[in-house]
């Protein structure tokens, strides 16, 4: 894994995008791993009876994809400080989803390099169904210990 440094990052830079495609099998695995057994995520008849077009992806799984977007990008010595998402629209399995982001701010606070990003998960049609924000701290090249 490559390490990203504070000095490498500029406002307006892209967060390296992450592609995902959640199969129904992945939704079942996520239900088991997370303990969220709500049937709208794996029982098609149940989902339709609840007025949905079919099974839908767990919001928390989309949140996990956006978490991975940021942890992959920042590298092992980066630290995720804050991760927020809002669920604006539902997403369905077997679509090519793209998580992406843009750096919106960088600053040094108490000797720590802080970077803020706007992030979003986009559905197969390119619509941002799940926008959010992330704040990370990144290691610094030029840091002088006092």
């Amino acid at each position: 894994m490559t390490q990203l440094y504070y000095e490498d990052v500029n406002v307006g830079d892209d967060v390296s995008p992450l592609s995902k495609n959640a199969t129904s099998q992945q939704l079942v695995k996520y239900a088991g791993a997370s303990g969220d057994y709500y049937q709208i995520h794996y029982d098609d008849g149940f989902a339709r009876n609840n007025g949905l077009p079919g099974i839908i992806i767990h919001g928390a799984l989309k949140n996990a994809f956006l978490g991975q977007l940021v942890t992959d990008w920042m590298g092992p010595h980066g630290q995720l400080k804050k991760l927020s998402v809002s669920y604006r629209a539902m997403d369905i399995p077997n679509e090519d989803l793209v998580c992406s982001g843009t750096v919106t701010d960088k600053r040094v606070e108490d000797g720590v390099g802080i970077v803020e990003c706007e992030i979003a998960l986009h559905n197969g049609a390119g619509k941002a169904t799940t926008p959010g924000k992330a704040i990370v701290s990144l290691p610094m090249w030029g840091r002088t210990k006092q």
Partner: protein, 157 residues
């Protein structure tokens, strides 16, 4: 229009009342299984050798693993005013890594009730905060989740 608020005193009585704490062991197998379920191959979350040489010295959990450490039931059931509910969003703050071998105590409370008029008629926004405290007594993370309760069913477009 001076409509009556849907936020009742009975609802307000739930504010800041914490659920009974539940303590979880962060197990290696559960962390690896979670990383695999979300399709995240980051070695820090599953490879003991890589993790040993990494910044934490041990496998750590992916950030949203905390979602699997489910809080206990509220002391009494929150009286939802409307039949329809949506998950509005989530906001995590992380203060300490979650390491394999940690013991995490989870509590949850409703912290904010807001009423709004919108596309779905009157909507009640319920914000809950879940707190994750490790075995050293450090607040490791918080998650704020917003539920939206509304009367009008969503129309198919």
């Amino acid at each position: 229009m001076p409509d009556e608020s849907v936020i009742s005193n009975e609802m307000r009585a739930h504010l800041d009342v914490e659920s009974d704490p539940i303590t979880y062991d962060v197990e290696k197998g559960a962390v690896i299984k979670f990383a695999q379920a979300i399709g995240d191959s980051n070695p820090l979350f599953q490879d003991e050798t890589a993790a040993r040489n990494g910044p934490y010295g041990v496998i750590v959990a992916p950030p949203t693993f905390l979602r699997s450490l489910i809080a206990g039931e509220a002391k009494s059931e929150f009286p939802r005013p409307f039949p329809n509910n949506l998950d509005g969003g989530s906001e995590y703050e992380f203060f300490q890594p979650i390491r394999v071998g940690d013991r995490i105590t989870v509590t949850k409370a409703i912290v904010e009730l807001t009423e709004r008029q919108g596309r779905l008629g009157t909507m009640l926004f319920t914000t809950a905060e879940t707190r994750y405290v490790n075995q050293l007594g450090q607040l490791a993370a918080t998650q704020r989740t917003t539920g939206i309760s509304y009367a009008t069913p969503v129309e198919e477009e």
